[in-house]
């Protein structure tokens, strides 16, 4: 075990000593994160919910509704006509008070610009819904000021109306930002590129320079050598992840959901890439070819696997094609853990599929690992 650690740590040291390491592992992925993160975050940055209100009602309930909507966090502005430039506005129709007192159905229209801030929009929607409920409640208690007084006076209604609120299953309880998708996506892409490029080149060079043979001449065994090479590449994947997660948390308030599940996901995916890098380093013979193959594979799998955009937005054919990529299963796990707060039983299938990829890549690594040309 000591020799496996020793060989693995030395490989990691070789990567970190490279002058370009921080460019490839930090700056370059950051460019991707910034571009894709910005694309998937609403263009406007109105964190306080701007809301214009056009009240066409002349009765008391329209004004009451506006009074209830106007709350901290809502930047309310009353207007007399439909505005040309707006972020979101709500229209209370004519004869609103008259109609609801007659128990007629009423529609309240809320309009939002498509590029408006998602979080602020949700806040406005929630506030409008709360206000409608308050209005309905007020109508029920008919001037009794508050619902407790009403129920005290009319206990027969207590059992008739029961209001329970809860989030439906899989409701997104914390609204993820574009970066919550992009950072795991770029992390998956760069684990792949980083481990395949750096790990593959070192295996190839070690073979060509006679370093692998020389290691075997020591008392280290073949298994210790192979284990050390695997361990070094696993560490490379984990280091790449650590860098992006720390930066993501500091700069973009990255939300990883259940940390243990996310860590397991990164661990299995890195293990897959560690084996694949030993394989390509064993069968390819030049740095240029390894870089080309790794970048091409990394980018194709990133696109197919949903690293750049959520798989929910791609056609079904691409979803099926994407399944051939380990990136797809890693990203699926991240989505389920970060966005839908799913448990271990729901993500287990993803781990099983990733483990199958790991076994296939491990077979290739062991079968083709060459000590010398």
């Amino acid at each position: 075990m000591r020799k496996i650690w020793h060989i693995g740590i030395t490989d990691l040291k070789l990567i970190v000593k490279d002058k370009m390491f921080f460019f490839w592992s930090l700056l370059f992925p950051m460019i991707f994160i910034y571009i894709f993160g910005s694309l998937f975050t609403a263009g406007r940055t109105d964190t306080k919910s701007a809301l214009m209100v056009l009240n066409k009602d002349k009765g008391q309930w329209g004004a009451y509704l506006i009074e209830k909507i106007d709350a901290p966090g809502i930047e309310l502005k009353k207007v007399d006509a439909i505005p040309k430039d707006y972020i979101r506005f709500v229209i209370i129709p004519e004869n609103f008070s008259q109609n609801i007192e007659a128990f007629k159905s009423q529609s309240i229209t809320l309009m939002q610009k498509s590029d408006s801030n998602l979080k602020a929009g949700r806040m406005a929607e929630t506030k409008i819904m709360q206000s409608i409920i308050k209005l309905i409640t007020e109508m029920i208690i008919k001037g009794e000021k508050d619902i407790k007084t009403f129920f005290d006076k009319k206990p027969e209604f207590r059992s008739m109306v029961e209001i329970k609120t809860r989030f439906p299953d899989k409701t997104i309880t914390k609204i993820p930002s574009g970066f919550d998708h992009t950072i795991p996506g770029i992390l998956v892409q760069f684990i792949m590129i980083m481990v395949l490029v750096s790990g593959g080149i070192i295996v190839m060079e070690d073979r060509k320079r006679g370093i692998l043979s020389r290691v075997l001449f020591s008392s280290a065994s073949y298994l210790e050598l192979l284990g050390g090479k695997f361990f070094g590449r696993l560490l490379m994947g984990l280091l790449q992840s650590l860098i992006l997660i720390i930066v993501g948390m500091i700069m973009f308030h990255l939300n990883l959901g259940n940390f243990l599940y996310s860590f397991l996901n990164i661990l299995i995916f890195s293990a897959c890439m560690a084996c694949l890098s030993i394989f390509i380093g064993s069968v390819l013979n030049s740095e240029e070819v390894i870089v080309g193959v790794a970048i091409l594979t990394g980018n194709i799998f990133a696109a197919l696997g949903g690293s750049w955009w959520p798989m929910e937005v791609v056609p079904d054919t691409f979803k099926i094609v994407g399944m051939i990529s380990p990136s797809y299963w890693a990203m699926k796990t991240f989505h389920q853990v970060i966005f839908f707060k799913e448990g271990f039983s729901e993500i287990l299938i993803n781990f099983v599929v990733l483990s199958v990829f790991f076994l296939v890549f491990m077979f290739l690594a062991v079968r083709y690992f060459k000590i010398r040309d």
């Binding site: 020799k3 020793h6 060989i7 030395t10 070789l14 370093i211 020389r214 001449f217 008392s219």
Partner: protein, 313 residues
């Protein structure tokens, strides 16, 4: 105390039709520096590769410290190898390389650091320990390659052509280091095709060609193979066949053709008095001789005598 450290018996290795080693036997004592001399393709590297465990599927036995070398991995802790390749990490500095290679031998870190520092002094890289190896000259890299082979203080050191591709001064340094290692009690097997190198540092020399051991012994023992003859190299404008014919037809007693090719012949003379009569025959047969060198018997002559060809062929 048992002095013999290594015994190779009937080592044979074939690659398809080609026999790289043919029933090769050899033994080595502690502190002995053995020069394995042979041209390219003689089987020197194959033998080193077998001893280092890289080449498998061979027949014969190798006993190291009274045990089968290949049945006990721990024996490798007592052997060091210096391959022909610069097999180390150019992105690490000399000290880091020694720490990596030494770490494979389960040496405690403190011992390893001390040993690495000593070795860097020995190979005259003490002041360059923390410099990137990329900046090293060929000779410095060769010296580091040797230091790596010695990091775990082995009892047997195998060096595969350690002086290839370096300048004369660097060669001298490396030969001094090897000599020093031998003097400290480490047995050394040193392959080369440079006659001067084995003459300079080896206590025993093995001459091999085409996978076969042709002769072995000390320098004096080997030279006795060519007897008290004088070596004469003849250069001129002639074909190999024509030259051989003239010498044979004249039935010169006391002249032996060691090797002959177009424009160059290596001859062994019982007596240099025979040279004028040979020259006369050559002129009569319209052969122009441009150069004639008389040399004392040396390893090259031994090699020519044994193989019929020069080491440089």
């Amino acid at each position: 105390m048992e002095k013999k450290i290594l015994e190779i018996k009937n080592l044979t290795k074939t690659y398809g039709e080609l026999t790289a080693l043919n029933s090769f036997s050899l033994s080595l004592e502690k502190g002995e520096i053995l020069g394995l001399l042979g041209p390219n393709g003689a089987g020197k590297t194959t033998m080193i590769s077998i001893l280092s465990g890289i080449v498998k599927d061979f027949s014969g036995t190798v006993t190291f410290k009274n045990e089968n070398l290949f049945s006990n991995r721990e024996l490798k802790n007592y052997m060091g190898i210096v391959p022909q390749d610069m097999a180390f990490y150019e992105d690490l500095n000399a000290m880091e390389n020694l720490m990596f290679w030494g770490g494979l031998y389960n040496l405690p870190n403190s011992t390893l650091k001390k040993r690495a520092a000593q070795l860097l002094e020995l190979v005259e890289l003490g002041t360059r320990a923390k410099e990137p190896i990329k900046n090293f000259s060929g000779g410095m890299k060769r010296r580091l390659n040797i230091a790596i082979g010695l990091i775990h203080n082995p009892e047997l050191l195998l060096l595969d052509e350690p002086t290839v591709g370096i300048d004369v001064q660097a060669k001298v340094n490396i030969l001094d280091i090897i000599k020093n290692v031998g003097e400290q009690g480490t047995a050394v097997i040193f392959t080369t095709h440079q006659l001067a190198e084995v003459e300079q540092i080896c206590s025993r020399i093995v001459i091999m060609d085409k996978g076969t051991l042709l002769a072995q012994g000390t320098m004096d023992e080997l030279i006795r193979i060519v007897g008290g003859k004088e070596m004469v190299d003849v250069e001129g404008e002639f074909s190999a066949n024509h030259f051989s014919e003239i010498i044979k037809n004249q039935n010169h007693q006391g002249i032996e053709i060691l090797s002959v090719s177009d424009n160059l012949a290596n001859l062994a003379f019982d007596n240099t008095d025979l040279i004028p009569s040979m020259m006369e025959q050559l002129f009569k047969n319209q052969i122009v001789v441009s150069d004639l060198k008389i040399k004392s018997p040396n390893l090259e002559a031994v090699f020519l005598k044994l193989t019929g060809r020069s080491l440089r062929d």
